[in-house]
């Protein structure tokens, strides 16, 4: 406990209200977050939201226009990249093509107060660390994409950086290699206790690798939490729709604490307890949380729906259902079902089924959050 507190008091990376403006365009809007020593943080967001800019500001490649950066307890806001002690892996890897893998790894070491023998040992150590033993004398072009990526990683780690920065490190690789390297990078990072910030726009990558995820939207951090928190309790409709998919029923009205009405549809939700009666809100639920039945289930949060579309998704099906309600409003709801369930229930188009929307799985976004994507 005491140990934890001390670490929280002095995080390895502290970003305080960092801002970056290009002329009148704000690329980073007062971004603040901390990273504890050894933590793996993923920065996730749509294209152009400022992920790379954030990484470059942390690295010192782009001078920030406001705020402070602290690395390892040092204020580094005004220091050039060379004095921030960070290791960087670029999307393109930027391996020197005329130097061998080993020479690339040794690049930052040579010319320092380190004798040749120690240098060579260190290079061997790093090459072994990233699992490239025996490939040290090859040139980058003679290595596969995954191997090049590991050389870049070894090179970035050669100077024992205080912070490892990765900008979409896996995006140039094909799907299989990417999945394998995810695990490898994560293991390596854990083993060395390296504080790491990885930029990605691949939600799966972020969810599987990170201790914590920062979700960014238009230069701002909109949610900062564990993968679990982010997925289960997305802070805004934007986060909800960006990571995974989400059904939204907008313009619902709070009847009493925890009950919401949209036309004839009445739903109770644990999430909306605190809202005053009369408040407007958007009701949301993930497709995989929608339960289907054909036996005339009844009870709270059960509605009837007609199957409008069946989309095959390999592992299962995505169903589009139109709620069967009185009146004009007939919202569409998507539900995810396994192939097994589909077969068991004999689901077909135009079939009427009952949908259960479990109150504990429903998310409520008060109308002040604005619309959703």
């Amino acid at each position: 406990m005491e140990e934890n507190e001390r670490q929280a008091a002095r995080p390895q990376l502290r970003v305080v209200e960092a801002g970056k403006a290009y002329g009148r365009f704000t690329a980073l809007d007062r971004v603040s977050f901390n990273a504890a020593r050894g933590e793996f943080i993923s920065v996730l967001g749509p294209s152009g939201c400022g992920k790379t800019t954030l990484l470059r500001v942390i690295a010192g490649l782009e001078p920030q226009t406001g705020g402070e950066i602290h690395i390892g307890g040092r204020e580094v806001s005004r220091l050039p990249v060379s004095r921030r002690n960070v290791g960087i892996v670029f999307q393109s890897y930027a391996l020197f093509p005329n130097l061998t893998a080993a020479q690339n790894v040794a690049y930052g070491l040579s010319g320092r107060t380190m004798d040749r023998a120690r240098q060579a040992r260190r290079v061997d150590e790093l090459i072994e660390l990233v699992g490239l033993t025996g490939h040290g004398r090859k040139y980058p072009a003679q290595l596969s994409g995954g191997q090049q990526q590991r050389v870049a990683l070894a090179r970035a780690m050669a100077l024992s950086p205080d912070l490892l920065l990765l900008d979409e490190p896996l995006s140039a690789l094909d799907a299989k290699v990417r999945v394998m390297l995810r695990g490898e990078i994560r293991r390596l990072q854990r083993r060395l206790g390296l504080t790491t910030i990885m930029v990605t726009h691949d939600q799966e990558e972020a969810l599987t690798m990170a201790d914590r995820i920062l979700v960014m939207e238009r230069g701002r951090v909109v949610q900062d939490g564990s993968p679990h928190e982010i997925y289960d309790r997305p802070a805004t409709p934007f986060v909800a729709s960006f990571i995974g998919s989400m059904n939204f029923i907008p313009d619902a009205q709070c009847v009493t604490g925890g009950t919401f009405r949209k036309g004839p549809l009445v739903l109770s939700a644990e999430d909306g307890r605190g809202l005053p009666p009369g408040a407007k809100a958007t009701v949301a639920i993930r497709p995989e949380d929608v339960l289907l039945g054909v036996n005339g289930e009844a009870g709270a949060n059960v509605v009837l729906g007609k199957v409008q579309g069946l989309e095959y998704r390999g592992a299962g099906y995505r169903l589009t259902l139109q709620l069967v309600l009185y009146g004009e409003e007939r919202p569409l709801i998507e539900a995810e079902v396994s192939t097994e369930t589909l077969r068991r229930l004999g689901l077909r188009e135009d079939m009427v089924v009952s949908l259960t929307l479990p109150p504990e799985r429903i998310r409520i976004y008060p109308a002040t959050h604005g619309g959703h994507a």
Partner: protein, 585 residues
């Protein structure tokens, strides 16, 4: 919380803090130095030239009086029309022949493309004076064709001395430039467009008009501008075959050397400079658009065999190459013949240069030394400044100015550079607001230094662009990676940038050497009696009527250039072999 590190990695010591702030400052200082250097060698001399053109012989400011005088005097201003006429005619010939030739090289399935291209590029290695001299041996009063191959055939007498001679010589001179530019333009064809046209049932002619021509229009415009500027500013060819037909370039020479009228020399220089500047700006604008065109992904077009078309094209291409080869072979033959056209026995008599002005072998040796030094200094300077401009982050205004200044020499004719350098480097000093400022560069005047400097500047922009293109192809993050590891930039420059750009560096060095050997315009005002030069010797021997030795000296220049070209070929092959080590699977 992740477990603590189980593998301890020895912390490497990092560079001391102060050393690295130094780096940012070094870069800034170097960049300033680049701007300063371009100012001293380009802007200030040009400004001096301009101020001379606006003053009378005693240095009093007279506004545009000199220009009024120039345009009111038909014997002077007629040259502007002459220059424009021959340059436009040359451009029309070179671009149309060059287009057909480049089309043959890129879009047809004819054999021997490599050989044909090499032959077509021969004129790049020759001084333009030689083009004139070869023409004299072909179409002059005692020329091979005028006399019908020494009486074997009926003769053909053309009026060589005048516009015809100039246009022919300039066409040979500018043809390879047109071929180079248009080969690139035609080579970048997108096969998908042709497939689309074919699938829509377009005829060959329609496809040519709707696909081929539009896709190379920027290349055509660029080739036209380049040929025009080259022909407009060339001095060598009109010097030899111009006869009484005055053009701007020969006027400058006559004003300065013949009449010692430096003011009028400056005025004509400005008149020569203006169209070149206009063409330069227009070309830059066009090229900027073309970049976007090439950037789009395309599928390369593989030419398909077509029996009749290929046969016709082969005949044309072979004929052009035969003409060019015959042209220079005549020069070589004439330099070896004892007494043209009476004693056709061969010998090396004309290569002795004894009892003939110009400087002989010493001049040739000087030229070699000057060209080697120019290649060395020019390559280092252009590459280093291109690197600084291309690979420095921030400092945008400084980089933009440096870039513009680096391209400026492209618009400067050699004669203008030469004359501006006389004015600037010969000046003992300047008085500004009553304070006398001695000229710190005066010591360069009449030395090898000023000759090298003139060449470095004369051929600066093309080399600079070659270097910039090569540098743009390198991953922009190389510098960042090195920086993040605290490796000083000069080490990355030497260890990574230079090796990766070696092919471009060699190309720049060859370009400098070859052009410094062949040029006469930039150095004819600047050489001093104790440093004679080969190309100037050719001009002077031709002046004195010693055409055969002049021809022989030209052949020496061509020979030296071909040797350097072969060396370059061997060196690039060596480099390529090493590069293949990096890329070999």
């Amino acid at each position: 919380m992740p477990e603590s590190a189980s593998v301890r990695i020895a912390a490497a010591s990092r560079l001391p803090a102060a050393a690295l702030d130094l780096e940012a400052w070094t870069r800034r200082a170097l960049m300033l130095l680049v701007c300063l250097w371009m100012c001293v060698v380009v802007v200030l001399p040009l400004a001096t030239l301009l101020s001379k053109s606006l003053a009378d012989a005693d240095g009093r400011f007279v506004g545009l009086d000199n220009f009024l005088h120039y345009f009111q005097n038909p014997s002077l201003s007629a040259s502007l029309g002459h220059s424009l006429a021959v340059s436009l005619a040359t451009t029309a010939i070179s671009v149309s022949l060059g287009f057909a030739f480049a089309y043959g090289l890129t879009r047809t399935a004819i054999p021997g493309k490599g050989l044909f291209k090499t032959l077509a590029l021969t004129p790049l290695f020759a001084p333009t004076l030689l083009n004139g001299i070869a023409l004299v041996y072909l179409f002059g009063r005692k020329g091979l064709i005028t006399r019908g191959f020494f009486g074997a055939l009926p003769g053909l007498d053309v009026d060589l001395y005048g516009p015809l001679g100039i246009i022919l010589a300039e066409a040979v001179y500018t043809f390879p430039q047109a071929v180079l530019i248009l080969s690139v333009a035609l080579g970048a064809a997108d096969a998908r467009l042709y497939e689309a046209a074919a699938s829509l049932g377009a005829s060959r002619l329609r496809t040519f008009l709707t696909v081929t021509l539009p896709s190379v229009r920027y290349g055509l415009v660029s080739a036209a501008f380049v040929c025009f500027i080259l022909a407009f500013t060339d001095f060598g060819a009109p010097k030899v075959v111009g006869g009484g037909y005055n053009v701007l370039a020969t006027d400058i020479y006559k004003q300065v050397i013949g009449q010692q009228n430096f003011v009028m020399g400056a005025v004509v220089s400005v008149v020569l400079l203006l169209p070149a500047v206009v063409a330069f700006i227009a070309d830059r604008l066009v090229q900027r658009r073309q970049v976007a065109l090439i950037a789009a992904r395309s599928v390369p077009l593989a030419p398909r065999p077509n029996r009749l078309g290929d046969a016709l094209m082969l005949a044309f291409v072979a004929l052009v190459c035969l003409a060019i080869t015959g042209f220079y072979a005549t020069g070589l033959f004439a330099s070896l013949v004892k007494v043209w056209p009476y004693d056709l026995s061969l010998g090396l008599g004309h290569y002795v240069f004894s009892g003939i002005g110009g400087g002989g072998w010493a001049a040739f040796a000087n030229s070699l030394a000057m060209s080697a030094l120019s290649a060395l200094a020019g390559t280092v300077l252009t590459f280093a400044s291109a690197y600084l401009i291309e690979k420095t982050r921030g400092l945008a205004p400084l980089r933009r100015s440096a870039y513009f200044l680096s391209l400026l020499p492209l618009a400067l004719p050699g004669l203008v550079i030469g004359l501006a350098y006389i004015f600037f480097f010969n000046a003992p000093g300047w008085s500004i607001l009553g304070v006398h400022l001695p000229n710190p560069f005066n010591f360069l005047y009449a030395t090898m230094g000023i000759l090298v400097l003139a060449n470095v500047v004369h051929f600066y922009s093309v080399s600079f662009l070659t270097a910039t293109t090569a540098l743009k192809n390198l991953d922009p993050e190389f510098e960042t990676v090195a920086q993040s590891m605290g490796v000083p930039f000069q080490r990355t420059f030497m260890r990574v940038t230079v090796p990766l750009c070696l092919p471009a560096i060699l190309e720049i060095a060859m370009y400098y050497f070859v052009n410094s050997m062949a040029t006469v315009s930039a150095v004819i005002f600047l050489y001093s009696a104790d440093i004679p030069l080969a190309s100037v010797a050719v001009a002077n021997m031709d002046d004195a009527g010693d055409i055969a030795p002049a021809c022989a000296m030209s052949m020496l220049i061509v020979g030296a250039n071909l040797c350097v070209r072969i060396l370059y070929g061997l060196a690039t092959r060596g480099v390529r072999r090493r590069t293949q080590a990096w890329t070999k699977r």
